[in-house]
Amino acid sequence: MQLDPLLGPEGQTEFLLGNEAVARGVYEAGVSVATTYPGTPSSEIGDILYRLSDRMGIKFEFATNEKVALEIAAVASLGGLRSFVFMKHVGLNVAMDSFMSLSGAGAKGGMVVFSADDPSMHSSQNEQDNRFLGKFAKIIVIEPSSPQELKDFVVSAFDLSEEVGHPVLIRSVTRISHIRAPVKLGNLREKREWDYRKDTSYVLLPENAYKAQTSIVNRLDKVNSSKFRDRFNIAYGSSSTLIITSGAAYNYIDEALQMLNVRARILKIGLSFPLDMEGVIQEIERADTVVFIEEGGPFLEEQILSTCALRSINRKFHGKLNGAVPTSYEMDVDRVVGFLSKIYGIQIQTKNPVPNIPVREPVLCPGCPHRATYYVATLAMKQKGIKHPIAPTDIGCYTLGYYEPYGLGDFCFSMGSSVGSSSGFAMNSKEKIVSFIGDSTFFHAGIPALVNAYHNNHNFLLVIMDNSVTAMTGGQPTPESSPPFKRVDIESVVRGIGIRNIFSMDPYDLKNSLETFKKALSTDELAVIISKRECALEVDKKKPLSELTIFQIDQDKCNQCYNCIRNFACAAFYVEDGKVKIDPELCDGCSVCSEPLVCPFNAIEEVKT
């Protein structure tokens, strides 16, 4: 492999993932401080900065949650440094309290908040469009469309932020952050010096906050000049039909028009708030039909149509507001062809149907300690006669416990919501409440909720599934990781709250875990199990090939009771004509299935390789 492409010289072209392009942009922009809490589709930026921050001269850290991350970055900016904070869309909800105050304090060193939204919810709980949050918080909003623009707009956003003294939100989506494309690298800007001076606008008590409102308006007014518009917006094509678009949605339009064999003038907006309204209105006045195509929204559409209403500008407007463009899920060429054909009045052929074949649902990896924990949990509850437990769960790989055969997932809203909702269930329900949370999620938002539960005397069992990493986003460190970090011990945190019923178990040790779980279920006040075993993928990374062991099923011993496939359900098992087998390429060698609690006939044996 060559030297790291992200450190390459100006003018070089590299095949970069959108998020890699963001990291390069951060490097080029002369950023001094960068922070995040990992969340897909933004996670890779953190992986890169974690790896390269020293060489890039950036102080980078994984913060406990997005709000802490944003506050660290805000201070760096107020001290004159360029600072960058990034997260997935729902992460901005966590940071929202301080995000709302950013515009009041403004920015000294350029400050950019980066949000990777997830239309169609490839790995999220909703498809919120964070451009609305930017506008709501009175923060400048910029929308790139491609990996190249991600990099270029990151750099331009820092310049803009410093020129007007105001923070900028960049909104990406999955289909930009997770697209690879050639990206031409640019030159490196100089870093700023730390130059912090006290300022009343950083203390947003009522008197100062009152004054800040005026300065927010003044700074945003400065953005309304053609100087900035020209950096971010483009228009081309000649037609009486105008398509106003932005972000990922832009990528599908040219090809859709080509397929339909029709023309349109395209106005691609990169600076989405505050909008260059004069420029937009000029375009609309020259058109007789206007179509709004956005990923999410209607964001541009609402802003623009409000102005058209005020100025009595009437055209044939089509978009999400009149139902011509569907409101949910991400765009693609096929969808754009679908609704544009109706607007243009063109008949199109229906495409090949997708064959009806078995689904392949997401599953816990072979060797995953969460599977063992869920297996023990279901067994323990069965043995204790708990037939209808209520099982709030949380955000992480272990959310997959919701699926059969474990079926443990009755509530999942957001990070930490397993613990908060458990208080709500405990307050009202007579059923046993057993809730599940991961280690990183516990640190992120679980602790205040657990304090609440203890303080208010709520009775439930919380299982903290501690695999020592933030696994679902690719294995980032948690507050437990050390060195070089100081290690925070989960059990000490739980004990420190005052909780007395604390149990520890190694989920791979099914027999002892089962006893522990049953004991924990017997307590009639708040109890916590810490189920600790490192993520199997992390272990695999460290394991030499010579230590690989796998398991197989001795068909002579197998009694075909099917407990292994029905209740343990490791992804490495498969069935051929009624016989259970183990796929040798999938088996992780964890050995858990060979325990009598999974296979009472001792039919699952290690294979010497």
Binding site: T174, A181, V363
Partner: protein, 197 residues
């Protein structure tokens, strides 16, 4: 201009194959787009990576327009056929990874259903795993596949570019075996089949 869907299951290295081809296109100064979706599962979930070389803006291939499906798993080959254009081809490395939901219900892998679907298209088996085993290094099956895709001529890329891209994508200690795998992959498809495309 070419559009290819690479399909398989998480953990099979589908992304690496697409990356090598994408890098080769960049080396030739071509525009290339590649989607890369990360779902909830780290391993065992369905993966489809779409690669388009040429003057495209959309990385997502419109339905019925892909020139080829390159699949590393049988069910996943079928899952993506709606993307294939009329006359498009399927290159398939035969591998069955059973969905857990089927195993839980004691069901066999749906061989018949798959074969019925695949029979509707031009399909070529690529014995990538077998070649890799013969080379004594199971993990190079994906590079065998790169060679097979190259041999169809669909990519419109030069051999040197792919070789450089393989080197750029993999650590130096495995270059030799992977270049050998590429070489074998190139010769895997029947000559007539490859050149008629």
């Amino acid at each position: 201009m070419v559009s290819i869907v690479f399909a398989g299951v998480g953990g099979q290295g589908v992304i690496t194959v697409a990356m090598i081809i994408g890098r080769a296109a960049v080396l030739e100064g071509k525009n290339v787009l590649m989607t890369e979706l990360h779902g909830m599962a780290q391993r065992g979930g369905k993966i489809s990576v779409e690669v388009r070389i040429g003057d495209y803006k959309s990385a997502i291939i419109p339905g019925g327009t892909a020139d080829a499906i390159v699949a590393f798993e049988e069910l996943e080959a079928v899952r993506n056929v709606a993307k294939l254009k009329e006359g498009g081809i399927i290159l398939l490395s035969r591998r069955k990874i059973h969905p857990v939901s089927m195993t839980m219900k004691n069901q066999n892998y749906p061989d018949e259903l798959i074969q019925n679907e695949l029979n509707k298209y031009t399909m070529m088996n690529v014995e990538a795993d077998q070649v890799a085993l013969e080379l004594g290094y199971k993990r190079v099956a994906n590079t065998v596949m790169v060679g097979a895709v190259y041999s169809t001529g669909l990519l419109g890329l030069r051999e040197e570019s792919l070789i450089t891209a393989i080197k750029e994508s993999l650590p130096e200690k495995v270059w030799k075996v992977n270049l050998l795998a590429f070489e074998h992959g190139k010769r895997l498809l029947p000559v007539e089949a490859a050149s008629s495309l």
